[in-house]
Structures are given as C-alpha cells and as structure tokens.
C-alpha cells in the first residue's frame, strides 16, 4: 500500500495563516495538558477497571424493584450526600426515591453509623427489612 500524495494548498491570506498557527499552538498545549490526565487514569486503572457509581446501594435493587415510591433519609446534607442520593436513584430505578421524606411505607436509611440509624428506626416506629454490606438499611413503617 503506497501513501497517497496530498496536495497541500497553503493558506494565502494573513488571517488564515494566523488561525492555522493558533490551532497548532493550541494542539501542542492540549497535548501537554492531556498527559497528566492520561497518567491519572493509568494510576486509577491499577485499582479499578472502570468508574463505579452507587456501589453502596448494590443488592438493594432486587428488594426494591416492586416498590414504586421509597422514602430516602440521610442524616447529612452536603454535596457528597446529594451525589449519593442521585446515585441511589440511578441504581434503584425505576423505584422513585423521595429525598428526606419519611412519610412513606418504605424508607431507605443512609446514616453515618448504626447508632443513628437505630435511633431513626425507633423514632419512625419502623422495622428493618434488609441491610446490605455497606450499612444501607431498608425499613418499613409499622401501621
């Protein structure tokens, strides 16, 4: 296979040449900036094959799949807990999660520790139905 010959028509006007040179400069800069990102991913890949999300809620989706609407209680309210909630919603879809609303028959407790979870269960007069290995507790309010 021989290399085809491409006729290169060099740009004739000054603005065209400035644009080409600017693009070449940006490409070089992009590659320089890109190298640390590539190395970062190479480091991550030693430990993880790919990004994982919602891992803390795995196992729950088989239990909740027959529940249409699930309350979701978290004892923290920051960016990280909002992210966790979005991931929980994705993992447990098509069950709809109602953030920080405990007025539902079934509620998912996402608490810092078991003690706070137990206190909440007592407060809500509920019984635990399922606990996964990450401490996510599915509870049911007693009638």
């Amino acid at each position: 296979m021989t290399l085809p010959s491409f006729k290169i028509n060099w740009p004739k006007s000054l603005p065209q040449r400035i644009l080409i040179v600017s693009f070449l400069a940006i490409i070089i800069f992009n590659v320089i900036v890109f190298i640390p990102e590539v190395n970062r991913i190479k480091t991550f890949k030693k430990y993880l094959k790919h990004q994982v999300i919602g891992g803390k809620f795995l196992g729950l989706e088989n239990i909740t799949k027959k529940i249409n609407l699930l309350g979701y209680y978290s004892d923290t309210n920051d960016d990280e807990s909002n992210k966790l909630f979005s991931q929980a919603q994705f993992i447990l879809a098509p069950t709809v999660l109602d953030y920080n609303n405990t007025n539902h028959e079934f509620i998912l407790l996402v608490c810092k520790n078991d003690l706070q979870a137990l206190e909440k269960i007592k407060e809500l007069n509920a019984e635990p139905l399922f606990v996964n290995k990450f401490g996510m507790i599915l509870i049911r309010r007693k009638p």
């Binding site: 085809p4 400069a25 800069f29 999300i53 098509p94 709809v96």
Partner: protein, 501 residues
C-alpha cells in the same frame, strides 16, 4: 457477543440512514460520499429513536418486538427500493472511489485521534452527574417501568428535569433492545459515536467547502482538548445537540448553494430531531426554522424555491411528530422556574444581567478551553480587516486583564459595567463585519445573536437558581454544544472566496 448485540442496532440505524439518503438522491443530486456517511448515521439514529418513542405512544410501554420489527421493516423496505433503483438505473450503492486509499486515510486519521476518547469513555463508564441523574436514569425508567413509565414525570424527580425530551434516552434504549438489558456499553457507545460523528462531519464538511487539508486540523484541535473530551464522555445530551445543530446548518448552507432537494429534506429532518433533544435545542431549532425561510429566498433567483421549501417543511413536519407529541401531551411543567420579572421573593436585577454578560467574557477565556474560544472570537473580528487596530485593542482590553498575570488589579479597578460595554462592542463589530454578512453565511450571525439573546433573557428572568452556580454548571455546556458550529462558521468565513456573494 454481548458487545456485538449493543453495536448491532447502531449498524442497522446507519444502514437505514444511508439507504434513505440514497433513495432521495439522484444522479444529478449527490452528497459527497464521506459526508453522506456521517449524515446517514445521524438520520438513521434519529429514525430509530423515533420508532422507540412510538412504542410508548402506541403500546404505552417498551415493546421490544415492535421496536425491532419496526426498524427491520424500514430497513427491508429501503433495501428493496434500493435494489429496484439499482436495477433501473444501474447507479451504485457506493459511488466510485468511496473506498479509495485517498478517501480512507482521513477516516483512519479520525479513528486514530478518537482512540483516547474511546479509552477514556470506557474508564468513565457511567459518565458525569447528569448522565446517571438525568439521561441514563430516564432510559432506565423507560426500559424497566413497563406501562408505568410516565412515573418518571413526577415532580419528586425534579432533579432529573422531567420536562426534558427523550431523544437520547430513546437512543440508549435502542442500544439495549437486542441485548435486552440496561448495559452501560450502549450509553458509552452513544456518546462516543455522536462525538465521532460531530467531529467527522465538521472536518469533512469544511474540507468540502474550503478544499483545504487544514480542515482536519479542527478535529485534532477539538479532540486533543481535555475539557472537550471530558464533556464528550460525560454522556450528556449536549453532544447530540452539537451534532444536529452542525448538521442542520451544513444542510442549509448546501441547500442555499446547490438547491438540491436532498439537503432540504435533511435540513428539515435534522431540525426536527434537534427539537427533540433538549429544551434549549428546541429554542435553537425554532430560531433556525424562522431564519431558514428568508435565508433560502434572500438574493436567490432560483425557480425551484417553492419546491425546496415544500420538501423542507414536509420532512420537518413528519420528523417532528415525536417532538410535538412529547411537548403537547407528556412533558410536565418546568418546576425549576421562577419568573423574576413578577416575583417579589426573587426579583430580577440589573446586577444579574451584568453578572451574566461578564460571565460570558470570563467563560470565553476560561483555561478549560485552552484559548480556542479566544482564537475563534479573534478570527471573527479579524476576518474583516477594517478597523484592525481598534479590534486588536478591544481584544487586548477584553481579555488581556483576565489572562495576563499582574493585570488582574487593572481589571478590578475598571469602571462598573466596563466589561458589558466591551462585550457589546465585540458583538457590534462581529455584527457589522461585512465578510460575515455575506448572504451565504449570514444565517450564522443572525442565529447566534438571536440564540444568545434568548439564552441571556432566560438566565435573566428565571431566578429559581442562584445565578453564579447556574452559570457555572450550564454555560460551558452551551458553548460546548455550539463549538463545532462556530468553528465551521469561522473557518468557512475565512476561506470563503471574498469575491463571491
């Protein structure tokens, strides 16, 4: 085997699109082969996504049999028609030299420079926040809810923007149809495919218009940018918007120059698909629709204009049926909206407007873009070489204080509203650039002025979100979606024969 079952639907869509364009082409009216391939993929995916949505309208659920058979029936019909057409006029399915070495090397180049994106996309398998909280979430609801799929429009799920249309989720569903499970590979492949199609269409369209090999430099500039790759592999809908926006403009430009009915059909169809992708894309599609009619007619003495217009509107009307049905019967009200013009709790203010306009300037010089937007704005200003000194001074005063170290103090000490005045000056200079007002490309500045005005107005009056947070998380994605179209505009304007009008 599982991977093949994920890719198979997209191959079917591509074949549908290819044969559909062939059907409406003739010996006299042919699209360049390379561009045909990219437009075919976009057309086919749009048709398949519409068939998936039809399943929910007709059967009120994801009906796998209907979706597969619907696509296969369309494919078979088009294949039969193609065979009959080939028998009749002996025209080849693939034009001569489609697979020549010279034609294949640019594709090889694109594939090689897309490899980092492919590898990254498979590491960030679930994409960005909005992928798992909006687009892939909607796809899961559609796939798993049975006949209770409308549950995803509940106001409890306000974080997932239930008023957003369903083009991307339906496309992901199409990727799940053969494998019959919500496999993450379909989302990865969809985002990669649309990025590849967008960059490929940009490169080959510019090559077609400028006849310059430097057109492929645009692919390298964009695909080597870490921020662009990050947004592409985030699996958001912005890349879908980006593709159909570029495809619509390209087809309108070609329609204006060649009067080939195939471009009227494609332009109308792509605008309809664009309207079904995102809320702001619906606005963009409506603006382009309003501009398309005078654009096609202006300074044009061709006799077949009415026929072209009829083809454009009929194709657009048919392709926009999913969009009309969704917005008319299913889309819930946008609850993340407070009209600041009438609200006493969160009213608008002039400071809000000034903040928005200042943020536009700041985003253009943001280090995320590595100077690309700055180069494009400079390209737009300098393509008309009148008042060159004034323009260079404006570029220096607009962006110099932000990007040059040590001048930040100067920037902060300038009079209140200085940055707004500069932004308006830039807009006026671009708007009065006689080169950009060429009838062949005038649709670009008109569209971007109108689109920017509408977006700015929406940012201004909707006071639901704090403006600083809202601009930070959304403006860069609007720029990302518009970037390939702006690159096309700038390069075409600079390379266009200045003597032709």
């Amino acid at each position: 085997m599982n991977l093949l079952l994920v890719y198979l639907p997209f191959f079917i869509s591509f074949t549908i699109g290819y044969l559909a364009i062939n059907l409406f082409s003739s010996k006299e009216h042919k699209i360049p082969p390379s561009i045909h391939l990219f437009l075919a993929a976009g057309l086919g995916i749009g048709i398949s996504s519409s068939i998936v949505f039809s399943s929910f309208i007709l059967f009120n659920q994801f009906n796998r049999l209907f979706i597969i058979s619907g696509n296969l029936i369309v494919l078979c019909l088009l294949t039969i028609i193609q065979i009959l057409k080939w028998n009749k006029d002996k025209s080849p399915i693939f034009p001569p030299n489609t697979f020549s070495q010279k034609a294949l090397y640019p594709f090889l180049f694109l594939i090689i420079i897309s490899l980092p994106l492919w590898i990254h996309a498979h590491f960030y398998a679930y994409g960005g926040w909005d992928a798992w909280s909006v687009w892939n979430l909607k796809a899961k609801f559609l796939f798993l809810s049975g006949d209770d799929w409308k549950r995803m429009f509940t106001s409890i799920l306000w974080r997932s923007s239930p008023h957003y249309p369903l083009f991307l989720p339906c496309t992901i569903l199409w990727g799940w149809t053969f494998i019959n499970q919500p496999d993450v590979e379909a989302s990865i492949f969809t985002s990669f495919l649309f990025t590849f199609l967008t960059i490929g269409l940009l490169s080959f369209a510019l090559r077609h218009k400028t006849k310059s090999i430097f057109s492929f430099l645009t692919a390298l500039v964009i695909l080597s940018m870490p921020f662009y790759i990050k947004l592409s592999l985030s699996q958001y809908c912005d890349i879908v918007v980006s593709f159909y926006l570029l495809a619509s403009f390209f087809c309108l430009i070609e329609l204006k120059e060649t009067h080939h009915p195939i471009y009227a059909l494609l332009a109308g169809t792509f605008l309809a698909f664009l309207s079904f992708t995102k809320g702001e894309a619906l606005i963009a599609a409506l603006i382009i629709l309003c501009l398309a009619v005078p654009y096609i007619f202006w300074k044009d003495s061709a006799k077949d204009k009415w026929k072209i217009l009829k083809t454009f509107f009929i194709a657009g009307a048919i392709a926009s049926i999913p969009s009309i049905i969704f917005y008319g019967f299913y889309a819930p009200k946008n609850i993340t909206m407070i009209n600041g013009l009438v609200s006493t709790i969160k009213p608008v203010s002039l400071f809000r407007l000034e903040y928005i306009l200042s943020f536009y300037l700041a985003e253009i010089v943001s280090p995320n873009w590595n100077g690309l937007w700055l180069v494009l704005v400079a390209g737009l200003l300098l393509s008309d070489q009148r008042w060159i000194i004034l323009k260079l001074c404006i570029i220096l005063f607009s962006f110099g204080p932000i990007i040059l170290p040590g001048l930040n103090g100067l920037w902060m000490s300038l009079p209140h509203g200085y940055n707004v005045i500069l932004l308006l000056l830039i807009a006026i200079l671009i708007g009065t650039n006689k080169h950009l007002l060429n009838p062949r490309i005038i649709i670009f500045p008109l569209f971007f002025i109108a689109y920017t005005a509408v977006i700015t107005f929406y940012y201004f009056i909707n006071t639901y979100f704090p403006i600083d947070w809202w601009l930070q998380v959304t403006l860069h994605r609007i720029l990302y979606a518009a970037l390939p179209t702006v690159v096309f505009w700038v390069i075409y304007a600079l390379w266009m024969d200045k003597t032709s009008g």
